[in-house]
Symmetry: C3
Subunit: 173 residues, 3 copies
């Protein structure tokens, strides 16, 4: 059972994703892909942890997302976020196709709920930086692949969750 939550920066996507996971009984696993590259990032991580409150177990995994999902077993998992994971893969010069295939396999093997958060970054002007262009491409393809497999896809806009795909009424998967 996969739910993909997309949105721009500060669109309320993480808070909404947390509320979805918290509809199930605790404990919940918060699978953090972020790495504290600098003080700004460190501050965001600490603030987010404080905001989440009780009932969460935090697992930090910048690269091996598929392994972490297998290790999570039957617990509901919140992956926050795909965008940082993709950044980490690109920085580490990993093969994106291979990592993506492994993620999609791990997701379809899970029985428990997995909610994945992703930053929508493809709606601005083409960046001059070639790596930024590649990143936009990879992020778009990754979101498409997960959305195709997801039961539900939500676009968060100004804190309003807009459901853009929902097959949960049709057939539970």
């Amino acid at each position: 059972m996969i739910e993909l939550v997309l949105g721009g920066v500060r669109s309320g996507k993480s808070r909404y994703a947390e509320s979805v996971v918290k509809q199930l009984p605790a404990p919940w696993i918060y699978l953090a892909t972020g790495q504290a590259w600098d003080a700004e990032m460190q501050e965001r991580i600490v603030r987010h942890q404080a905001d989440r409150g009780e009932g969460w177990r935090t697992v930090e995994e910048p690269l091996e997302l598929a392994d972490a999902l297998v290790a999570a077993g039957d617990a509901p998992v919140l992956v926050d976020c795909l965008t940082l994971w993709l950044t980490n893969l690109l920085m580490a010069e990993r093969d994106i196709s291979v990592a993506k295939k492994r993620l999609l396999d791990a997701l379809s093997d899970r029985k428990a709920l997995t909610v994945l958060v992703g930053n929508e970054v493809g709606l601005g002007i083409v960046p001059e930086n070639a790596l930024a262009r590649r990143f936009r491409d990879e992020a778009g393809w990754l979101h498409q692949a997960i959305a195709a497999q997801a039961r539900k896809v939500v676009l968060s806009v100004a804190g309003v969750p807009c459901v853009i795909k929902d097959t949960s009424g049709a057939a539970k998967d």
Copy 2:
């Protein structure tokens, strides 16, 4: 009664917001937050004024938005736009939290319609410029706070107003 109209650049959001205000009897107050920093900006302001036509009273207020809303009394107000107001606050090194709190209080105190226009700027690649990153964050948080209080939230795309929140049927506020 609050309506928030978001959208990208040239997405038809101001024109839609004007049409909402004009469903009520004139006079309407056009609360302009823009300041003519350069010729490009000056040209936009003049073009927008000409496009609006009769029935509007223009009030220019780059910073004290809450005071201007109180001064507007019972008239329907169009705030155009939140994005420029936030830019002005950042440029003037004002305390954003304080200004935001005062705006939200003024909005909830109003009986008359307030339609607020905001630029959605958070759906592109992370900007390299730190001030631009801070601006995106503040804009996102501001839009979320107003959307939470709003009766209606609209995302304008290519001139098509997409209603993403509407509680007007549930209870008039």
Copy 3:
């Protein structure tokens, strides 16, 4: 009969647009506005052609889009994409208003289906580059003008086609 398909980069907009055209009997005309400025672009063009498969006739037209639509006669046409066409017009220093007027006239004169793909580029931070700012403005105005004339407007997000305007039930045009 006009359908406008908008979306960010790698949002699945071209694939969706192709599926719409392919609901009608072949042959279909693929009206490519892209020019291979560099190796990256050339690679994208070749990949897209291979992905499309049988039944398509490719017409390359970087500038005279209106003429190409007239020449297409009664065949269903996919215009991919408006964004590259606008880029080409700006590069060639053409009069955008004149070109846009001719496109809109050609579109309204067609009896056959025309599906047009456009990149939504106006939802990021204001670019520092003046040409990029002008491009965003022109793209937004162009999308609005076509959306106003279109029977159907779709925003593609992560491969999910979100219908934001559909007047096909009301009256066939």
